[in-house]
């Protein structure tokens, strides 16, 4: 659709790099934050909304349009609630800074 397609080995390389990078990064995430981590990665993986938008660029028939539109709504729900809940959870984590003596 858009210029020459990327050879498979390049995409595989990207996949493997991302996998090793991801494993390395996630290993270092504090256990304290595993719940917000999950809501964050969930929101991020809803970047699949991009795929739905690409399909919606030139859908061949109504069914394709319908499927992709429903996918946009589902992914948008995840994006909005995912980032917002992550923010809400992260705000709850406070350090012990004299707030005690209330």
């Amino acid at each position: 659709m858009h210029g020459p397609t990327t050879p498979l080995y390049i995409n595989l390389l990207i996949f493997l790099m991302a996998a090793f990078l991801g494993l390395g990064l996630i290993r270092r995430v504090s256990k304290l934050l595993h719940t917000p981590l999950m809501s964050l990665t969930n929101a991020i993986s809803s970047v699949s909304v991009v795929a739905a938008l690409i399909v919606l660029a030139e859908p061949k028939n109504m069914m394709i349009t319908l499927f992709a539109t429903v996918a946009v709504a589902l992914a948008a729900t995840n994006v909005v609630s995912g980032f917002m809940i992550t923010e809400r959870i992260l705000r709850m984590f406070k350090r012990d800074t004299g707030g005690k003596s209330k």
Binding site: I44, A51, A57, T69, A71
Partner: protein, 457 residues
Amino acid sequence: MTNALIGYCYVIAAVLFILSLKWMSEVQTSRRGNWAGSLGMLIAVLTTLIAYRTQHLDMIILAVAVGTLIGIPIALKLPMTAVPQRTAMSHAFGSLAVALVGTAEYYQRLPGIDTFAMAVLAAEMILGYLTFTGSTIAFLKLQEMISGKPLIYKGRNVISALVVLFAVSAAVGLVLQPNQTLLLPVLVAAALLFGFLLVMGIGGADMPTVIAILNSYAGLSAAALGFVLDNQLLIVAGTLDGASGLILAILMCKAMNRSFANVLFGGFGATSTQPGQQVTGEIKPVSVEDAYLILEGASSVVFVPGYGLAVSQAQQAVRELGEVLQKHGVEVLYGIHPVAGRMPGHMNVLLAEANVPYDELLEADAVNPKMPNTDVSVVIGANDVVNPAAREDPTSPLWGMPIIEVDKSRTVIVLKRSMRPGFAGVENPLFFKPNTRMLFGDAKASIQALIAEFSQE
């Protein structure tokens, strides 16, 4: 917009996603991480909208509006105890979205899909649809709309294997003959059924692992879609999500001393029917007053919460008791077992919500060395994660599981409603140890009574 410009915008989005996870490693930088992720998403979506001029902008706006209207109330009103359900639901939504796009892409490319694209599409659809039903069942179980007990019947693994065989055969058929559109519904139905069977067979105690595995599947199916659409941003973001779910699942399995295969195909308790050694000893119930006197004389106290704490909504009360003790010069810490909540890290969130400072929340590895020098450990609504049988009884189903070693502290006070065993259905010798005192009753009521005792001084 030129192709190159689109590409660079996607690169920026991908870098923001990576930074987002990097900043998520510590509490101090975590909120910046969340903002980086949000910004990356915004860039990715806007770039795509501008680059691929669509004939359906009105429908897209409508869909995004619907998604936003559903998403915002969930995000704002959701109680923290319900975060695991929300997570399961979002895995269901995410994987269904990916599966639907995959299906749409299949019809879009008919006739004449090349073999490679068809193979990846088939794998992506199987993964997406099975994650959808699996996550939906996980949601229903966590929401307690259906029983959390594993559905176990004779020949369960044979039936599951047959369903998988159906799905794979349909996939192979499609790869060989992509234009055989009748095979697609077979593939979809088999994948949906397999996800259903898979999670129906898993018990409530295994939910943290299941959620993590489904997280991984949802990410991997998004990455597969990236291969089909030749979209590297999707490959990167999906793979990061897949890696995250995988690591969390491994950590959860380690925390329960179980293998992946055991979680997925065993069903807790199904593989270990022997109840472990008979426990001997005497149960020593105490009154609130006695418990008060024990705590009053302590100089260090470790609270060990389990999900029972959240069930009785006692987080606030525990934090208050902790503060009262700190005012008496007692050192107060919290020992958090990885599977104390209903999903990875859940208990930390529940206590953070109750304003417990996060530097008082310690992992098992950090708190166990402190146990021999701890005067009193207070176990609230936890059972299996403090069961010394994991260390002492090789015949116990819990044998080898890392626990919080409260039995090594000088005195243990266990707050418990009754003598019912935990999820694993295993006797807990902790309750019979000479240094253990049982304070029976509702956890929240007991803790509030203890706070009242302190304020009477």
